[in-house]
Amino acid sequence: MCETNDEEGGGPEGDEGPVDEQAQFSALLEDSAEDLYEHAPCGYLSTQLDGRIAKINTTLLDWLGYQREDLVGRKHFSDLLTVGGRLYHETHFAPLLRMQGEINGIALELKAADGARLPVLVTSTVKTGSDGQPLLIRTTVFDARDRRAYETELLRARREADQERDRLQVLATTLQQTLLPPALVDVPGLDVAAHYHIASVDQVGGDFYDLFPLAAGTWGLFLGDVCGKGAAAAAITSLARYTLRAAAVYDPDPVAVLGNLNTVLNHEYNGDDPRFCTVVFGLLTPDPDRGGFHITLASGGHPPALLMRADGTADFLPTPGGQLIGVLRDAHIATTTVHLVPGDTLLLHTDGLTEAHTGPTAGGDDRYGDDALLDFGRALAPTTASSTISAVRDLLDTFGSGVEDDTALLAIHAPQPPSEEQQ
């Protein structure tokens, strides 16, 4: 446009064209205001204040299939509405129109002469006289069939998306279950309990644990946490779980087991998308002389286990220097040994517990933390495996949505022999 103006010699902008050409053009546009009213691309309707139809254009009559004399002076606007629409008109549309003097873009359904329904968008204004008294109501009616079809399509798409999400949640839950043992094996003389807290039903978490028999009289257990969540984490969780079980069969030395897992993960994942996990692996051997179990724990960068003793004390079992598994070529694995005497309980956990948001709304900056967990253990000791798990589950419940990450819990407890319990 600017270029054209320049070529025309920079004259004043606007109506420079020949006068007769303009007249022809406007004649073509609006030869008759009456024709525009009757055949406008929308319906026009004027009603008296009580809703009685005073004037209606041809467009709307055609849409509805009525003759003018069927409606004018005989019917009310609300007579053209469906039952639901009439109710809405009575309770919302008409009162609002009276109050505001206008109402815009209300979706209603009109009933045609043949009973068909016509979705429309209705806008009304109240025409007032010079003294401000309301005289009549002017209404425009837009055909909303396309829009309604679009909305129906949106609803259908949404229903499908909801169904997809339900299916995904079932899949995620199923996948999660395959990553956990269906039931923990029965170890003679050991009380065992476990819990898996799912933080999100949409995403598979990366926590795992297991307890399983090894060569005669020994048992292996592990609990770990793969970084991240979702399908990628689940794949590594699966790999970690089966690698740990297989490695423990060949060489149950906890350092060797975690070393093997480190090699496997380090080969699989590196570069800009490294994947690691932190794991505690334990080897349990019953101690026939002193009772209870001898346990060797190896840690690959995992939060320390919590020992709650029979005498009511509690402490973490740190394994300083142990490194996370999967990203360093020669990850250092640190070990510690403990004798689980009758009455002692050992809790392994993932950091979903200690990293949980606490506070009234669970949305604050405060995280539960290791110190709080240690205090919790001290208050709980002496305890049992099942009491520990149920106490921590209650604790997780108090955090509500503050638990952002999945949390795995595995507790083992050496019960007092029946004779001692009676003393």
């Binding site: 991240g228 932190t278 900056d365």
Partner: protein, 119 residues
């Protein structure tokens, strides 16, 4: 619940310094990962991650720090962390990464400690 993560990159004679502020977690870690290729690390340079403004770091955050280390090592460069918050250094101790990342009290100290290796 998650605080926004902001990254600010500047260049020093020792190499790029990336200031990471906010929560570094599952939802934000990719932002750091995506920024790595654009750093243009050259052999012998030192990549400094300045964590002074870091409010939270979870396992996904740790992952991306390791990704940054892998990225630096692959480019023949080195990596150092500056102003590691107590919470994060505690996590580093637990997962055994304290020995893997050289750390300095400030980004300036990290820069001062850098010695050109000649690539």
């Amino acid at each position: 619940m998650t605080k926004h993560l902001t990254l600010r990159t500047r260049t020093t004679t020792a190499g790029p310094v990336v200031e990471i502020a906010g929560d570094l977690d599952y939802d934000t870690a990719d932002k750091v990962r995506a920024a790595l290729p654009g750093l243009g690390l050259r052999p012998g340079q030192q990549l400094v991650l300045d964590l002074a403004g870091l409010s939270f770091c979870d396992s996904s955050g740790i992952t991306v720090l390791i990704a940054a280390r892998n990225h630096a090592l692959a480019a023949g460069a080195s990596i150092a962390l500056a102003a590691v918050p107590d919470r994060v250094s505690r996590i580093f101790r637990i997962v055994g990464l304290a020995q893997v990342f050289p750390t300095h009290p400030t980004a300036a100290a990290a820069e001062a400690a850098w010695r050109p290796t000649g690539g």
